[in-house]
C-alpha cells in the first residue's frame, strides 16, 4: 500500500501547499506571497504529474484510483488552468482583501478534488472527489458576498446538491444491480449478462440515465444547464473562468471514463447511450447558441457559449460511444478539443478579467472601442473569440475538424451537419463582441492597463492557441498518448 503513495504525489503536494497557504495567511501581512506559493505548489504538482507520465497503466488502492495517461493528462490540464487562474486573479483578489488566503487555498482544494475525480475508478471515490471539488466551488462562487454573488452561490449549492442526489441515486441503482462499485467489476458483470436480461433490467438502465443526468449538471448539458448563466454572472470572474474550463474538463473526463470502462462493452449498450448523448448534444448546442445570441452581459454570453461548446464535446462523446472501445483516435479528438477549449476560454476570460478590473462592468456595450483603449487586450480577446468560432489560424478550428471527423467516421454525419450549422450561429455573438471592440467608439479615452501576471497568462494562452492552430501535429501526438484509459 505505502509504495503506491507516489501515484498520488501530485494531489498530496498540492494539498501541502494549500495548507501552507492557509497557515501563512494567518501570520503574515504582505499577502503578495500567497499567490507565489500557490503557483509554486501547482508547479510542484505539475512536475509530479509529468514524472508519472511514462508509467504503465495500472490501478492503485484496491481499484480505487487508476494511474493512466488519460487521468494524468487531465491532471496536468487542471493544474495549468489553476496556475493561469491564479495569475489572472492577481488584481481581482483585492476585491476581497481579507480573504485572499482562503481564496487561493479553496481554489487549490477544488483542484485536488478534480484531479482525484479524473483518475477515480470506483463510484465511491468518484462521488467523494466530486463533492470535494464542488463544496470548495460553492464557497468560491459566493466569495464576493454581494447580492448577486450570494444568490449565485446559493443557486449553485442547491442545484448542485440536487444533482449530487440524482447521481447518488443512479450509483445506488447500479450498485444494486451489479453488486459492485468498481468500474471494471461493473463492466465484467455487464459483459456477463445475457443481452435479454440486460434489456429487461430497467433498474440498471435507469441507473445509467441518472448517472448521465448527474454529470450532465457538471458539464452543463441541456436540460441540466439552468444554473450556468446566473452562476457565471454572479461568481467572481476568475471563478467563472475556472468553472468553465477545469470543472467542465474534469466532468467530461469522468463521464467518458465511466461510460467507456463500465458500459463500453456489449455493442448495443454503448450504441444506446451514444444515441442518448447525441440527442442531448443537439439540444445542448442549439439551446446554448440560440440563447447566447441575445445576451448583453459578457459573462452570461460566455455562460451560454460554454453550454454550446459542451454540445460540440458531446458530439465527440457520442462518436466515442458509437466506436469500438479500442478506437483511441476518437477519444484523442475529445481530449484535443477539451485541451484547446480550455486554453481558448481561459485566454478569453483573462482578457475579460483584465478589462473588467478597469471598467468595472460586464456589459458588452461598455467594451465599445476597446481596441483603441487597449489594443493588446482587444487583440488577445479577438484571437480567443476567433478560436471559439472555429476559424483559422487557431486551435479552435483544428479541434473542431478533429472531433467532427471522428463523428463522421462513425456515421454521425447528420449530427456533424447540425453541429457545423450551430457553429455558424455562434459566429453572430462571438463577432458581436469583436465588432463592438474594434468598430465601436470608445466610451472614454482612459487607457485600459493590466499587470504583468495577467499579460503573462493571456500571452501564454493566445500564443498556444495560435501555435496549436498552425502546427497541431505535436499536440495531437500527446492527446493520442493521453487516450490510454485504464481497463480498456
Amino acid at each position: 500500500m505505502m509504495d503506491q503513495i507516489r501515484y498520488i504525489a501530485p494531489e498530496i503536494s498540492l494539498l501541502c501547499f494549500a495548507l501552507i497557504v492557509i497557515v501563512l495567511d494567518l501570520f503574515i501581512k504582505p499577502k503578495k506571497v500567497l499567490p507565489v506559493i500557490a503557483v509554486a505548489g501547482s508547479f510542484v504538482a505539475l512536475l509530479a504529474v509529468l514524472m508519472l507520465w511514462g508509467v504503465p497503466v495500472t490501478d492503485v488502492f484496491n481499484k480505487m484510483l487508476a494511474v493512466d495517461q488519460f487521468g494524468l493528462f487531465f491532471k496536468a490540464l487542471i493544474l495549468v488552468s489553476l496556475v493561469l487562474v491564479i495569475l489572472a486573479s492577481n488584481r481581482y483578489v483585492l476585491k476581497f482583501e481579507k480573504f485572499q488566503g482562503e481564496f487561493y487555498a479553496l481554489l487549490m482544494l477544488s483542484a485536488i478534488g478534480l484531479m482525484l475525480l479524473v483518475s477515480a475508478i470506483n463510484l465511491i471515490t468518484i462521488y467523494v472527489a466530486l463533492e470535494l471539488s464542488s463544496i470548495s466551488l460553492y464557497v468560491l462562487v459566493s466569495f464576493l458576498k454581494d447580492k448577486q454573488s450570494s444568490e449565485a452561490g446559493l443557486k449553485y449549492l442547491i442545484l448542485g446538491a440536487v444533482a449530487s442526489a440524482i447521481l447518488l441515486y443512479g450509483m445506488a441503482l447500479i450498485f444494486g444491480t451489479t453488486g459492485n462499485t468498481c468500474l471494471t467489476c461493473i463492466a465484467d458483470y455487464v459483459k456477463g449478462m445475457p443481452a435479454a436480461s440486460l434489456a429487461g433490467s430497467p433498474v440498471l438502465l435507469i441507473g445509467l440515465v441518472l448517472l448521465i443526468s448527474g454529470f450532465g449538471f457538471k458539464i452543463a448539458s441541456v436540460p441540466f444547464q439552468m444554473w450556468v448563466p446566473d452562476v457565471y454572472e454572479g461568481a467572481p470572474t476568475p471563478i467563472t473562468a475556472y468553472l468553465s474550463v477545469a470543472s467542465k474538463a474534469a466532468g467530461f473526463a469522468v463521464i467518458a471514463r465511466i461510460l467507456l470502462t463500465a458500459f463500453g462493452m456489449p455493442a448495443w449498450l454503448h450504441n444506446d447511450w451514444a444515441m442518448i448523448i447525441a440527442v442531448l448534444a443537439v439540444l445542448t448546442m442549439t439551446v446554448g447558441n440560440i440563447v447566447a445570441l441575445v445576451q448583453t452581459n459578457i459573462k452570461r454570453l460566455f455562460g451560454y457559449s460554454s453550454i454550446a461548446q459542451a454540445g460540440y464535446l458531446m458530439v465527440g462523446l457520442a462518436a466515442m460511444g458509437m466506436a469500438a472501445q479500442a478506437d483511441s483516435t476518437i477519444r484523442s479528438g475529445l481530449i484535443f478539443f477539451l485541451f484547446s477549449y480550455t486554453l481558448t476560454n481561459l485566454g478569453a476570460f483573462i482578457a475579460i478579467i483584465a478589462i473588467s478590473n478597469k471598467i468595472n462592468s460586464d456589459n458588452i456595450d461598455d467594451y465599445s472601442g476597446m481596441a483603441k483603449r487597449s489594443p493588446l487586450l482587444a487583440t488577445g480577446l479577438t484571437i480567443c473569440l476567433v478560436s471559439l468560432t472555429g476559424l483559422p489560424p487557431t486551435a479552435g478550428l483544428i479541434a473542431k475538424i478533429y472531433i467532427f471527423s471522428g463523428a463522421v467516421d462513425q456515421g454521425l454525419l447528420w449530427l456533424v451537419i447540425i453541429a457545423v450549422i450551430n457553429s455558424c450561429i455562434s459566429a453572430f455573438y462571438y463577432f458581436k463582441v469583436v465588432k463592438v471592440m474594434w468598430m465601436g467608439e470608445p466610451v472614454n479615452n482612459d487607457e485600459v492597463t493590466s499587470t504583468w501576471p495577467e499579460w503573462l497568462a493571456l500571452g501564454f494562452c493566445c500564443l498556444a492557441v495560435v501555435v496549436i492552430g498552425i502546427i497541431p501535429g505535436a499536440f495531437m501526438a500527446i492527446t493520442q498518448n493521453a487516450a490510454k484509459i485504464f481497463g480498456i
Partner: protein, 495 residues
C-alpha cells in the same frame, strides 16, 4: 530546383504583415511601401513560376512546383502545395491584383497599419486556397480569408458596412460549414485528403449518397461564385467595401468558387456533375439574365458593377457545367479576365468616388472633360467587360460560348447558350448607358475643380489595361497553360 517558390508566393505577404506589425509606430508611407514591396515580391515570384512552368505534353495533368510535408499526422493531412494549368493563372491574377489593391489604397488614412495588415492577410489566404493540394489545408485557407474581409468591410467600408460585413460572414460560414461536412465525408470514403489523388478516383459504395456529397461541397462554392439564388451577399459586400477589398473580392475571391467547383466537384465526382449539369446550367442562365437585368436598374455606380459580376459569373458556371474541354477552358479564362476587368472597374469607380464623393449616377454627368485620363481607362474597362474584340473579355466569353454551344455532354446546351448570349446584349446596354451617364452629357460646374488621375493611379490602372490587352490579343499565353490543367479533367467526363 527545390526553391519552395509557392511557399514564398503565399508567405511573402505574411512577412510583410510581420514587419508592419513589429514596427512600433511606423509612418503611413513606411507601411505602404512595405505592403507594396511584399505584394510586388510575391508577384515577381509568381511570374517566375509562370515562366518556369513546364508546358510540355508530358506534364499535362501534372502538379508542378510541388511541396509536401507531413502536417497533421493524426488525420493524415499534409502541407501540400502545387500548381497546374487550372490554378496558375489564378495565382498570377491574385498576386497581380494584390499589387494593384495596395496601389489603389495609397490614399487610405484611417488606421493604415491595420488596413494593410488585413489586405496582405487576405492575399495570403486566397493564394493559399489556389495552391493547396490538401483538403484540410485548402479549407484552412478558405476560412482564413473571412477574417480580413470582415474587418476590411466593417471598418473601412461605407454605407451599411456592418450589415454587409455580417452578411458576408454568415453566408460564407454557412457555405464552409457544409463544405467541412463534405470534406470529412470524402476523407472517410477515400481515406485521403490529397486533392491530386482524389481526381478521377472511383468512389464506390459509401455511407452517404454521392449526390449529397456533391451538393455538400457545391453549396460553399456556389455561395462564393455566386450562383443565382445565393448571390445576395455580393452586392452588399461589394458596395460597402473599400476599393481595395472590392478589387480583391471581385477580382480573385469569387474565383475561389469556380476553382473549387472544377477542382473538387467536377474532378472528383464527374458523373454526378454530369447528372446535375442541366440544373446548374439553368441556374447559370438565370444568373446571367437576372444579373444583367438587375444591373440595368442600378443607380449606384459600385452596386452596378457588383451586379454585373453576378451576370458574368453566370458565364463561368455555364462554362463549367457544359463539361467539355473548350467550355472548361473558357470558364477558366473567363475567371482570369473577369478578375482583371472587374478589378479595374472597381478601381475606376473608386477613383471617381474619391474625386467627386458620389457614386450616384443621377448626380454625375459629363465628367469626360474634367478627368480625361480616367474616362479613357474607364471606357476601356467597360468595353472589355462587354466583350469587345481585342480585349480579354471577348476571348474568354467567345471560348466559353463556343465550348458550351458545341457541348454534347448535356442535353439542350445549345438552348442554354443561346439564352445566355442575350446577356451580352444587355451587358452592352448597361455598360454603355453607364458610361454615357457618367462621362458624357453636360459637364456639371461643381466638378470643375476635380483632379484627374495622379501618377500612382495611372501606373496601377495602366498596368491592368496592359494585361487586358495582352490577353485579348494573345490569349494563347494563358490558354496554353490552362489546357494543361483542363485536359485531364475533360477526359474524366469523356467528352
Amino acid at each position: 530546383m527545390n526553391l519552395n517558390l509557392l511557399s514564398w508566393i503565399i508567405f511573402l505577404p505574411v512577412i510583410g504583415i510581420v514587419i508592419i506589425a513589429l514596427l512600433p509606430k511606423p509612418g503611413q508611407k513606411t507601411v505602404k511601401w512595405i505592403a507594396l514591396s511584399a505584394t510586388l515580391a510575391s508577384f515577381l515570384v509568381s511570374i517566375a513560376v509562370f515562366l518556369m512552368f513546364n508546358r510540355s505534353e508530358a506534364a499535362i495533368g501534372q502538379m508542378q512546383f510541388e511541396e509536401k510535408l507531413l502536417w497533421i499526422p493524426a488525420i493524415n493531412s499534409y502541407y501540400h502545395l502545387g500548381v497546374d494549368g487550372l490554378s496558375l493563372p489564378l495565382v498570377i491574377l491574385m498576386t497581380f491584383l494584390g499589387v494593384i489593391s495596395v496601389l489603389v489604397s495609397w490614399k487610405v488614412e484611417l488606421r493604415p497599419k491595420q488596413f494593410f495588415i488585413w489586405v496582405l492577410m487576405l492575399e495570403s489566404s486566397i493564394l493559399g486556397v489556389f495552391c493547396s493540394l490538401d483538403l484540410i489545408l485548402f479549407f484552412l485557407f478558405w476560412e482564413l480569408e473571412l477574417i480580413p474581409m470582415f474587418f476590411l468591410i466593417s471598418i473601412w467600408g461605407s454605407g451599411r458596412k456592418e450589415y454587409a460585413a455580417y452578411k458576408y460572414l454568415i453566408y460564407t460560414l454557412v457555405g464552409s460549414a457544409f463544405m467541412l461536412a463534405g470534406i470529412l465525408s470524402v476523407y472517410f470514403i477515400t481515406h485521403t485528403f490529397d486533392i491530386t489523388a482524389l481526381r478521377g478516383i472511383q468512389i464506390g459504395t459509401s455511407f452517404i449518397p454521392l449526390t449529397v456529397l456533391f451538393f455538400l461541397l457545391m453549396v460553399g462554392f456556389a455561395i462564393k461564385l455566386p450562383v443565382f439564388p445565393l448571390h445576395t451577399w455580393l452586392p452588399d459586400a461589394h458596395t460597402n467595401a473599400p476599393t481595395a477589398a472590392s478589387v480583391i473580392l471581385a477580382g480573385a475571391l469569387l474565383k475561389m468558387g469556380g476553382y473549387g467547383m472544377i477542382r473538387l466537384c467536377v474532378s472528383m465526382l464527374p458523373q454526378v456533375a454530369l447528372q446535375y449539369a442541366p440544373v446548374m446550367c439553368t441556374l447559370a442562365v438565370i444568373g446571367v439574365i437576372y444579373g444583367a437585368a438587375v444591373t440595368l436598374r442600378q443607380t449606384d455606380l459600385k452596386r452596378l458593377i457588383a451586379y454585373s459580376s453576378v451576370s458574368h459569373m453566370g458565364y463561368v458556371l455555364l462554362g463549367i457545367f457544359a463539361l467539355n474541354q473548350v467550355s472548361l477552358t473558357g470558364a477558366s479564362l473567363q475567371m482570369f479576365s473577369h478578375g482583371v476587368i472587374t478589378g479595374l472597374l472597381f478601381a475606376m469607380v473608386g477613383l471617381v468616388y474619391d474625386k467627386t464623393h458620389t457614386r450616384d449616377l443621377n448626380n454625375l454627368s459629363g465628367l469626360a472633360r474634367q478627368m480625361p485620363i480616367i474616362v479613357v481607362v474607364f471606357s476601356i474597362a467597360g468595353l472589355a467587360s462587354l466583350g469587345l474584340p481585342g480585349t480579354a473579355g471577348f476571348v474568354a466569353e467567345f471560348i466559353t460560348f463556343a465550348g458550351s454551344f458545341t457541348s454534347v455532354a448535356v442535353a439542350g446546351m445549345k438552348i442554354f447558350t443561346l439564352i445566355a448570349v442575350i446577356g451580352i446584349v444587355v451587358t452592352s446596354g448597361y455598360i454603355l448607358w453607364m458610361l454615357q451617364r457618367v462621362f458624357y452629357g453636360y459637364p456639371l460646374d461643381k466638378y470643375n475643380g476635380v483632379k484627374d488621375a495622379d501618377a500612382v493611379e495611372m501606373i496601377s490602372t495602366f498596368a491592368v489595361v496592359a494585361v487586358i490587352m495582352l490577353v485579348g490579343i494573345y490569349p494563347a499565353i494563358l490558354t496554353n497553360v490552362i489546357y494543361m490543367g483542363i485536359e485531364p479533367i475533360a477526359k474524366l467526363i469523356g467528352m
